[in-house]
């Protein structure tokens, strides 16, 4: 029974896991919804302080990397190892660009004395504190997921190079790709909720 690999089953398991990740963020989105309802004007005000250019660039970077990961999965099925490797390296680079952007973005906020428990937030309007609190928690947790996703992609890359992932057996790459799409998907929600609010 275990001699043949059941790829459908592996995929079911992965989808269920992804679903649980969405619920994980769902808890935070519940907080967002409640506090947005309570402090709409401060959420709008806070949203204007975020850098829309960096946010948009990051959105595009993630979307492009999602495409390149999907393309790499097609490439491995077509037995084009070199293309697969190139596409994976490109995706990893996109992930790195995302994190670097995030680093500068957070750094600028820190510079303006906007970070959890900073004097400006504690002494200022509670609504703003909540907005930026949620901003740091949600983008922070998302950033952590970007790092996890990059790790998975890097492992897949190594396995491709070692020929352990090939046209007949590519579940690991497939699932890492799914995870990467999840990271992308969550960002698609995070981006408008914080950067484009009202």
């Amino acid at each position: 029974m275990s001699s043949r690999v059941d790829t459908t089953g592996i995929k079911i398991g992965m989808w269920i896991f992804l679903y649980s990740e969405i619920i994980l963020f769902g808890g935070l989105f519940v907080l967002y919804a409640v506090y947005f309802y309570r402090y709409p004007e401060f959420f709008a005000e806070g949203g204007k302080e975020l850098d829309r250019v960096i946010g948009s660039v990051n959105t595009i970077v993630l979307l492009v990397s999602s495409f390149s990961v999907a393309a790499s999965i097609t490439a491995i099925q077509l037995k084009k190892k070199k293309t697969t490797v190139a596409l994976l390296i490109f995706s990893l680079a996109c992930g790195a660009i995302f994190l670097i952007n995030k680093y500068f973005e957070w750094g600028a906020k820190f510079h303006h004395d906007i970070y959890p428990n900073s004097e400006r937030l504690v002494d200022g309007e509670p609504g703003l504190n909540i907005f930026f609190g949620l901003y740091y928690v949600i983008t922070g947790l998302h950033g952590l997921h970007v790092i996890i996703g990059m790790t998975l992609l890097a492992i897949s890359l190594v396995l491709v190079l070692q020929n352990k992932i090939h046209a007949e057996r590519f579940s690991m790459l497939d699932n890492s790709g799914l995870y990467w799409h999840l990271v992308d998907l969550i960002w698609i929600f995070v981006f408008p909720l914080f950067y484009l609010v009202l």
Binding site: S20, E125, P126
Partner: protein, 543 residues
């Protein structure tokens, strides 16, 4: 049946020997047993803690420990019992061992993930122990970790909630494994309406685990974040709302009580028909009610919060939904009773424990309705009534179902029988002790004694004293049951393939089963609870 080599003598993967054959195993049966020893260890620890708490409360004032130790102790009792005993007990032990066999396959879908879950479980347990000795000691917040106290207390809450986080992940991965296994590895001949009810209940439980656990994960992460970074998401001074914490917490933790009870109901649904020699009444209704409980149970969380500050409309809606959950639970109870009606009942320790389950669970369920109704809840909220209700459901329910499962499947897991007489005596003592332990608490709660208090007014002395006596009787009964099971290893009375006359697939394989579970290809019965053959056999040869 031909002789086969039991899984004890066949390590998997095959090249491991000795202790490694256990610690690196992929075999679901070995993992089930490894869970069993760990779970029993934690159960014993938490039971002793509970007994110490009750001993402290037997007399007013200080008896054994000071108030700080008392706070940490009831927190530890709660955290261990919830996260290390009730949640994993039945799914991780009996689910791991019997779910693949009941659906006619050789293992769970992700055997290595299964091993990983066990390590997460053990790691969570180690973290819980570590948090005793590091930082300010074990949390003193109660197992609910309510803010703001969980954020402001000096105790090592961060490590305690990390333990709970990891244990939650372990339980979720087990659920993920079970869902995939039921979908992908079921014997081709077994349709959905031919799945044994224990597996059905595990399937429903697994969905709740997957649906709800991430919510507690994020909530516990937020507690840790608040402790380290003071973001203020639950701090009113900083614009946060502490009641939101309670919502998030109960969004998981109410469904979690169904994670705890559903597998227990599954066990009872297996045992009752076997010893009544009669097809289970309402197979489809029981299977459907498991799923109904899983769904409706996810929508009732705010009934823990009638006094926390909610609109009257929400209180009304959540009260109504709570009453709706009682319906599928009652469907099960009536089905079990109807199964026994005019059955050919054969008494045995598992059946006796199941009958105790039905009684204790019904009391727990009905007192739950008192709490679910918004009016009376205001009166008994946060009193001993809640404590008693909760223990009737969780301990009288899941706890006794766990004991029943132990006695029911012990011969299959170890291939040996135990002494019936000691098992009966132990079970009766545990049940009688249970009633003397918790019925006084129901009364104390009606009289207004608040839960979790270290000390009390003189009028509560009688109730607390008798609860303590009952506690000792109960613990003695449980200890006797465990002792009886333990000495069965010494006497080694060999168990037959089917000691009870069960009809589900696990009773068609050798005791203990071989590595791949089935010596020959499993023959899936058209209906899992058809006892005509068993009855025919017993007429020819009275047992």
């Amino acid at each position: 049946m031909s002789e086969s080599i039991s899984f004890y003598n066949t390590p998997s993967p095959a090249h491991h020997t000795g202790i490694k054959a256990w610690l690196l195993t992929h075999d679901h049966k070995r993992l089930g047993l490894m869970y069993m020893w760990a779970v029993l260890f934690w159960f014993t620890v938490a039971m002793v803690l509970g007994l110490l708490i009750r001993t402290e409360l037997m007399a007013a004032g200080k008896t054994l420990m000071n108030a700080d130790v008392y706070n940490a102790m009831f927190t530890m009792h709660g955290v261990i019992m919830i996260f290390l005993f009730i949640i994993p007990a039945i799914p991780a032990i009996f689910g791991n061992f019997f779910l693949p066999i009941q659906i006619g396959t050789d293992d769970v879908f992700f055997p290595r993930l299964n091993l990983f879950s066990w390590y997460l479980y053990m790691f969570g347990g180690v973290l819980a122990i570590l948090s005793l000795f590091t930082g300010g000691g074990f949390a003193d917040t109660g197992w609910t970790f309510y803010v703001p106290f969980s954020i402001s207390t000096e105790r090592n809450v961060s490590m305690t909630v990390s333990a709970a986080f990891i244990l939650g992940m372990s339980s979720m991965l087990t659920g993920l494994n079970f869902v995939t296994t039921v979908h992908r590895m079921r014997d081709k001949a077994m349709g959905w309406m031919q799945i044994p009810l224990f597996t059905w209940s595990l399937y429903a439980t697994a969905w709740v685990q997957i649906l709800a656990t991430p919510v507690i994960s994020i909530t516990l992460v937020l507690v840790v974040i608040e402790r380290f970074l003071s973001v203020g998401l639950f701090d009113p001074d900083k614009g946060g709302d502490p009641v939101l914490y309670q919502h998030l917490f109960w969004m998981y933790s109410h469904p979690a009580v169904y994670i705890m009870i559903l597998p227990g109901m599954g066990v009872i649904s297996e045992i009752i028909p076997v010893f009544s020699r009669k097809a289970i009444f309402g197979y489809k209704a029981i299977a459907a009610s498991s799923m109904a409980i899983a769904i409706a149970g996810s929508l009732v969380w705010a009934h823990h919060m009638y006094t926390s500050g909610m609109s009257d409309v929400s209180v009304f809606v959540f009260s109504l939904l709570t009453f709706l959950v009682a319906v599928p639970s009652a469907v099960k109870v009536f089905s079990w009773v109807a199964t026994m009606y005019k059955g050919s009942i054969e008494m045995s320790p598992p059946l006796l424990l199941s009958l105790m389950f039905i009684y204790l669970f019904s009391v727990g369920g009905l007192t739950g309705l008192v709490l679910g109704a918004a009016g009376p809840d205001i009166h008994v909220h946060d009193t001993y009534f809640v404590v008693a209700h909760f223990h009737f459901v969780m301990f009288g329910g899941t706890g006794f179902a766990f004991f029943a499962a132990l006695h029911f499947w012990w011969p299959k897991m170890f291939g040996i029988m135990y002494d019936f007489k000691k098992a009966y005596v132990g079970a009766v003592l545990a049940c009688v002790g249970f009633l003397f332990h918790y019925v006084p608490m129901l009364i104390l709660g009606m009289q207004g004694m608040p839960r979790r208090y270290y000390d009390y007014l003189p009028q509560y002395e009688g109730g607390n004293f008798s609860a303590g006596i009952g506690g000792y009787v109960m613990v003695f009964g449980i200890a006797l049951m465990f002792y009886n099971l333990a000495i069965s290893f010494k006497s080694r009375v060999k168990a037959p393939v089917d000691p009870w006359g069960g009809t589900t697939l696990e009773w068609s394989v050798p005791s203990p089963p071989p590595l791949l579970n089935f010596a020959e290809k499993p023959k899936v019965p058209a209906y899992p609870y058809d006892f005509s053959e068993v009855l025919a056999r017993s007429e020819h040869k009275p047992r």
